[in-house]
Assembly symmetry: C2
Homo-oligomer: 418 residues x 2
Amino acid sequence: MASTSAVVPSTHEKLLRARAAAGRMAQLSSAQKNALLLVMADAVEKESERILQANRVDVETSGLSGSMRDRLLLTPERISATANAVREVANLADPVYQTLAEWTRPNGLRIRKVRVPLGVVGVIYESRPNVTVDTVALTIKTGNSIVLRGGKEAAHSNRCLVDILSAVAGLPTGAIELLDSTARDSVQELIKARGLVDVVIPRGGPELISFVAENATVPVIETGAGNCHVFVDESADFDMADAIVMNAKTQRPSVCNAAEKLLVHRSIAAAYVPRIARKLLECGVELRGDTEVCRLGANLDIKPASWQDWGEEYLRLCMAIAVVADVDAAIEHINRHSTMHSDAIVTEDEANAQKFLRYVDSAAVYWNASTRFSDGGEFGFGAEMGISTQKLHCRGPFALAELTSSKYEIVGNGQVRK
Amino acid sequence: MASTSAVVPSTHEKLLRARAAAGRMAQLSSAQKNALLLVMADAVEKESERILQANRVDVETSGLSGSMRDRLLLTPERISATANAVREVANLADPVYQTLAEWTRPNGLRIRKVRVPLGVVGVIYESRPNVTVDTVALTIKTGNSIVLRGGKEAAHSNRCLVDILSAVAGLPTGAIELLDSTARDSVQELIKARGLVDVVIPRGGPELISFVAENATVPVIETGAGNCHVFVDESADFDMADAIVMNAKTQRPSVCNAAEKLLVHRSIAAAYVPRIARKLLECGVELRGDTEVCRLGANLDIKPASWQDWGEEYLRLCMAIAVVADVDAAIEHINRHSTMHSDAIVTEDEANAQKFLRYVDSAAVYWNASTRFSDGGEFGFGAEMGISTQKLHCRGPFALAELTSSKYEIVGNGQVRK
């Protein structure tokens, strides 16, 4: 097992190993990669006692409690679920070497655009140890090597998981590298390793994501931050609006696709604002409102919203409500304040819906559905690497296809340029 | 005309204007965008006298000569060619709002992945003023706004061109912004304008590209640097190899898709190295070689190559030659030293060709054709924004489609997440 080695390799040595492994990973067939994944899934289950033991050390030394502790905690059920997720990835179609386009030029050159692995994928994440296994499965499936940099609170769990995954026979050395989670330096080195790392994906809170985006010199896929909106239009079915608002806000308030803001059309505000405010308050949601909302809900516990509220991702049972003049004002409000993640309109008016779908500049835009569906699994991808909130490379939930690049293969019979 | 305004707006103000314009650009129909492009093409031709005058000031004050002066120089013919290029872009298909995929989930949610504009595209470039018009045409066609930062030697030409292009009726204010080319600050501000700029594309020499890649906090598409190889395999047709090597090296040595390195299979080296070395020398190509090449060409003017030679992009009539054991050694050499731009194999052996096409990790890989075909026009894209040498978002020659992002439009009838 890798961890018993006496000399600890430096971050740079690990990156070099990952780079060297990338060439070998790209040459594995789909059958070889799937076989590796199935053996990994079995190994994780077989070694679950060892994993739980390592996890216990992390949980006890972390001193965390509540939802923070829960994120870090592994259980036999969670380990089985993680192993099954790896088996599901093995069952997905392999995107590598798919032909994306093919054509012949007038001079006879045949051009084929083909999917290829990205190479070395860096993942920087926080406490949840299942991310280690999930991201390894996705990167191996796509013929990449992976450099992991987990949170220090999960150091023992991650080390144990990586040891088990790396020990699988037939996996090229360096295909899975785990960086030292106690050193901030290892993040710095990873995000500045131009020529060694092809992309870095930060998965975690807004501070982590902006730190990576602002300091990386290698390409980044930004994920996560979601200041999501639901707009209840004039013609909305109130029962449907209730169901969508309540689901988007309360079903899992700590995640990025939960709604943080509610916009209500002026002409229905007097009827709808007190109605939904009561329901939200009953579920323990703290409410903030613009002047109009505070007036309409004068007898309810609604605090005045500050300008900052409109841009904030609460990630908890808190929601700010504003009244807007019409669908155009809703679109303008969203495009000004949103993080371009997921936004929804509830309306029976198709023209307004189409306008909203087209002009809200977000990764996922919903008509009469909850923002909570922004997820690789819910989209039918069979897995998820993250939700991109940038416009380059991929946008919205992404999984296997987005862990690939492309190249052009051009076949001639001696053509030269005139 | 914009330039006559008394108060010069700051870089930040220009970026805010471009951001605001992006929303309006995204709403233009294909017909509106094409009409704008055709009026722009006419305006450029109609105002050619004014453009030539501005260009004369740049050429005279620059003090440049030779190929540097030639890059900066505009002529009536070049202006017409530029205007015609804009007309060709107008004739291309509009990728914006194309449906990329569409499916329905078991819960009835209908998901559509649709192309959308990127938003604000920043372009940083050096002396050639036609880049101003070319890039404006491509970004307008794709519903983006553009922020240009040209070289200071072309300041008058670029100002004049942007004034003419911006004056076209119906173009949203801020759709084309030109930053101050005399201030280095304006580059810094552009590449760090997170939230205002969606992508920056540097077009120029290696220093410019690494400066941008290393300092930008907004996403970058790296373009350009090309340390391209031709590998002449054991079974190569020597006449075809001669034609490809000579074309790749000498037809236009100053560009990124020109070959810089020649690899020759050991078993044909004694016959082929002296033959091709003579031809290259006759065309004025300076030659460098590994030990074996220097021995085989002992009676020819071949200098010993240093380790650094193998990674260098000469951009002039210079070529380094190495002897390699076989196709595997050629692939290994290329993957170690290349800039992942364009590399070619000349062979009659299909198995070797397929191996080379698959395992050389470059944007464009050729079998029996010159590397000089790596170009948007030669690929049939009708235009070119650049040649990406990174793996994220796009790779190889890119044009209209790569100036777009995507979004998901999801239509339901009240679905909420369980």
